[in-house]
Symmetry: C2
Subunit: 209 residues, 2 copies
Amino acid sequence: MEYTDKQVQIIDTAQDLFAENGYDGTSIRDIAKAAGINVAMVSYYFGSKEGLLEAIFSRHAEYVRLKLENLIQDKSQSPFQKMEVIIDSYIDKYFSQQPFHKLVARSQLSNSNKPVKDMLNDMKKRNQDLIKRLINEGQKTGEFKKNIDVQMLMSTMLGTANQVMTTQDFYREVNNMTDLPDEEFLKILKKKLRAHLQALFKAILKNED
Amino acid sequence: MEYTDKQVQIIDTAQDLFAENGYDGTSIRDIAKAAGINVAMVSYYFGSKEGLLEAIFSRHAEYVRLKLENLIQDKSQSPFQKMEVIIDSYIDKYFSQQPFHKLVARSQLSNSNKPVKDMLNDMKKRNQDLIKRLINEGQKTGEFKKNIDVQMLMSTMLGTANQVMTTQDFYREVNNMTDLPDEEFLKILKKKLRAHLQALFKAILKNED
DNA sequence: TAAATTTAATTAAACGTTTGTTTAAGTTAA
DNA sequence: TTAACTTAAACAAACGTTTAATTAAATTTA
C-alpha cells in the first residue's frame, strides 16, 4: 500500500493524537484541524476512522519485519550480540516513536477493532518466529541455555520497555530528575533500561562459561 | 470513603466496562443499563463520570497498601521469600482482577484525568517505598546484591505481568492451547509467568552463595 | 403507635454538544 | 472534458449532564 504525501500527513497526525488521547478520545475533527484538512478527507481517503487506524499499523509492519530479517541473516555477529542489537534497536524505536507504541499498547488493551488486533498479532507472530530462530541458533552453538520460553522472554522485553515508557514521569519524579532537560533525562533512562534488559537476557539466555 | 451496596454495584459494573471498552468507549448509559439503574444515578452519586473513575481507584488503593505493609512486617520469612510472596500475590491479583488492571494500564497510558493519574502515582510510590525497604533489608543480611535498581525491577514485574495478561490470547494461539479449557490454560500461564519472574528476580537480587 | 413532615432515592424527559459520516457543490489538475 | 480533490453544510445518532416530578425511606411530631 502506497500513500501520497497528504495521506501520510493525515496518518502521522492521527497517530500522535490517537496515542495522546486514545482512539475514542480523538475525533475526526481533531485530526482534521491538526492536519489542516477538511473532515471529509478522512472518509474520502481511508473510508472510515477505523480504516485510518489500520493504515497507521500497516505502515509500520513492513518496516519492522525487514529490519529483523536483515539482522538475523547477518553472519558477522554471535547470537547474543544479535540479541543485544535487538534490545538496543527496540529501545531506540520505543523512545523515538513513543506515540506509536502508546497506540499499540492501547490497541492491544482494547477489545474492538478486530482487524487491527489481527494485524498486530500477525506482526508479533512473525517477529517472534524470527527471534525463535535466532535463539535456536544460539542453542546449537552452545552459547544459549536449553530451556528458554521465548514468549516469556519477549513479554519481559516488551512489557518492561512499555512500563518504563508509560511511567517515565513517575520515574523522573521519584529520582529527583525533574529539573534535568528532557533530552538528558531520556538518555539516562534509556541507558538504565538497556543495562537492565541486557542483564536480564544474559541471565536467562547464556550458559555459564 | 464508604460506599453503599448500590454504589459498589455501580463501581463494579463501571470497572468491568471501562476495562473492556475503555473510559471514552463506555457511556454512562452503558453503565446504567448493565447495572440496572437510571443514567442520572451516576451524576447523583459520583458527581460525574470522572468522579466515578476516581471512586474505582480509591477503593483499591487502601487494600493493596495494607496487604504489602503486613507482609513486610512479617518476621518469619527471609527477604527473598517475601519477594516470592509479592510476585505470587501480584500475579494472583493480576489474573483474578484482570478488568481492573486493564483499567489501570489504560489510565496510565491516557493523558487526561489528572486526579486519577495522581492517585495512581501516589499508590505506586507508596508500594515502591515499601519494596525498597524490603530490598534494603535483604542487602543488610547479605542475601541481596548491592546495586539494585528498584524501579527497573518493579517495571519488569509489572510490565511483564501486564504484557502476558494483555496478550494471553496470542500466547494461547501460538502454543496450540486453544482447545484447552479457560481455567486450565490460565493455570498453566500463571505457573509459567511465576517461574519466569522468580528466575528473573533471583538473577537480579540474590548474591551467589 | 399513627400521622405528618422531611430527606433521600429514583425516574423519564430534555438540554446543548459532539460524534462519524454523507452529500452536493465547488475547485484544481490531467 | 474528464477525473481527482476539497469544501461547507447537513445528517442522525450518541454523548454527559441537568431538570423537575415522583416514589421510598427516615425522622419528627402528636
